[in-house]
Every structure is written in C-alpha cells, then in structure tokens.
Point group: C3
Chain length 151, copies 3
C-alpha cells in the first residue's frame, strides 16, 4: 500500500490520528487559559501594559510557574507526537494497535497535566505519565526510521 492510500480518509488510522491530534491541540490551548486564570488569581503581571486588565501584585507565584512548567513540558513533547504520529501512519501499522497508541498518548498527556498543574499528586505519578508518552513517541520514531531509512 502506497503513501497515497494511507493518507486517504478511508484509512481508519489516519482518521484516528486527525481526531486525537485535534484533541491534543485543544488540550494545549487550555494551558493558556489555565495560566491566565492563575495569573489573575495571584495578580502576577509580566508586561506593564497589562496593568489595566490585571491588578499587579507580584512578578511570579508558584501556582503560575507550575502551570507554565506543565505547558512547557507539553510544548517539548506533544509537537513531536504530531510529527511522528503522522510519519507512523505511513508505516502502515495495524489499525487496532495504532488507535490504542494514539489513545494512550492522549490520555497520558492529560494525566500529566492533571497531576502536575491541577491537582498535585506526589511522584512518581507525573514521572510515569511522562514516561508513557515518551515511550510512545520513541516507538513511533524508531518504527518510522526502520521502515524508511534511506541515507
């Protein structure tokens, strides 16, 4: 099967990728809202021109920094899923396995944010959620390289 039919909407794996990719986009977008909520709650201001919108109290606060770190961790990891999830479709994986991989990744990242920035749970909760997503990305990257390696 060529790249063409794998990128067709009849390919269940591709449709699944489109769905979970969009869910992860919305999940990442929520981080901006979460940051904004924490900023307002604690009066944390970074740009002086925001003063009319937000009563400035301090330059930083633990709760704001925590959401920022969770967001940064998303930015370090989820865009890699977007790319390597796409290349993985082209290795023609078994639909059932691929759809579970996409689901597991999405859930692991939602748990990661939850235990990091919404309701803090002691380690290794966050570490485990992170590792699951990391291994999924690594698996898809390695499978792509094995399938297409041309130097």
């Amino acid at each position: 099967m060529g790249g063409l039919s794998l990128l067709s909407l009849e390919n269940q794996v591709f449709r699944c990728y489109l769905t979970y990719t969009s869910i992860l986009v919305l999940k990442m977008m929520l981080m901006s809202i979460l940051t904004s909520v924490q900023r307002r709650k604690h009066g944390v201001l970074t740009s002086p021109e925001d003063a009319p919108l937000l009563k400035p109290l301090r330059k930083s606060h633990d709760d704001v920094d925590r959401v920022r770190r969770a967001h940064l961790n998303d930015m370090e990891n989820i865009p890699l899923f977007f790319v390597v999830g796409f290349t993985y479709i082209l290795t023609n994986p078994a639909p059932l396995i691929a759809s579970y991989i996409f689901r597991i990744y999405t859930v692991s990242r939602i748990i990661h944010t939850f235990v990091y920035a919404i309701y803090v749970i002691p380690q290794p909760a966050r570490g485990l959620a992170w590792v699951v997503g990391y291994l999924v990305n690594a698996y898809m990257a390695v499978r792509t390289i094995i399938t297409f390696a041309t130097w």
Copy 2:
C-alpha cells in the same frame, strides 16, 4: 471527496495552507533575529562563550525579555495552527472561508508580535490579536473532531 484529492495541489485550500504556513515560519524565524538585535543593543549575554561576539553588560533587559515573551507566545500558538490547519483541510471546507481563516490567523499573529515586541500598544490590542488566533485554532480543531471523531 477523499483525503487524497484534498491533499492534491489542485485543491486551492491546500495551496493556500502551504503559502500561509511558510509565511508564519518566516515570521517565527524573524523572532530569533529580533532577539539577537535586542541582545546586542543592550549587551545581554546568556552563555559565557558568546563574550567575543558580544560585549557583556547584563544578564537581562526588559526589551530582550519582551521579544522572548512574544516568541514564546508564538511557540505556544503557531505550531498548533500548523497541525490543526492541516487537519482542517481534510474536513473539505469551502475554499473561500478556509482561505480567509488562514489569512486572518496570519495577520492576527503578525499584529500580536507588532504590538507586543516592536511598538508597544496598550491593552487590549495584544489581547484581541491573541484571541482572534486562539478562536481560529479552536474552530479548526473542533471542526476536525466533529468530522472525524472515532473513539
């Protein structure tokens, strides 16, 4: 219409996506230059090995931090457009609407950077520019999920 013909170069929406995506890539690349200009101007040094290239004066400066924040905001938002703009093409949107959506997003992000880091304009200028881009991304993500949702 299947995924194949939507990703063909005869599809005006896909060509439009390729154009605006590349413009946004160049726009984000400009942020690095802008940072470098501000670093030199204010002698802000982060790595000691840069000392021969740049007369070190201080560890940070408001103008540098401002460009960095604008760049970071781009990194939080524009890659999501790259992904969800692509998945949105596959929902087979009306060409006229899709091309306006891509244009509006691109312009909103350029305005965002302008009022944030080049010529600072009081709020809500930056907030409005940000919200427009945010809503565009949300719309495209939701439309993709509605079209392809397979659990």
Copy 3:
C-alpha cells in the same frame, strides 16, 4: 506532478523527509534525558513533589540552564523544519538536492547541541551551526511561497 504522487512512498524525497524528521524527533527527545541527567547530577529541583526522587540542593545550576537553552533553541527551530520540510516536498525539488538539504539540517542541529550543551566550544561554532539550519529553513519556506503563492 500533483500533490498526490509527491506524498507517495515511491517519492524518494518524501521517504527521506520521513527518516530525517524521525531522527530529529529522537534528537529532541534526548534533550529531556540530558536535562534530567544534569538535574540529578547537580540536585536541581523545580517541583517540591520531586523531592523523593531527587535530593534537592539548589534552584538552578549553569549546566542545567545550558541544556535547557539548547533544548529551547531546538524548540524554536526544529518544529519549523518539520513544517517547512513537508511543504518543500510539494515543490517537487530535485531528489539529490532535497536529500542533502535534509541531511545538512539534521547534522547542523546535532552539532549545535553538541557545542552548546555537551562539549562547549568557543564561538563561532554554535553560531555557525545555528545559521546553517536557519538558512535551510528560510530557503525551504521561500521556495514554498514562490511555488504556491496565492493571496
């Protein structure tokens, strides 16, 4: 040649893109490991719930910050390659040129990290590695715009 056949697995340029993209994903994933190694080595802790896993000593350390800066630089640049490398395939470039461009980019980013965060080499080593990757991205973005520009 239409977009369809360019995105087929018979197109050597597309296969090459899939390979180097996945290599760069793995390269970026390594940055997380590298950060973790440096954090443990120097006892740098950002979240209090990590205390059982890591003996907290200090809030930051130069070696940790250096790896973080290298990672951030990757995040500013490599996702742009993912996007603009993809759009560049659709300009139907000569396979030999395209494959060298993908290789040069990948090598330049590996060198960038090496001289920045693993074995620090005086400037202009890092600057040169960065500029090569920057020019590659700019070239691919401009070629895409020239090919597809529709306003």
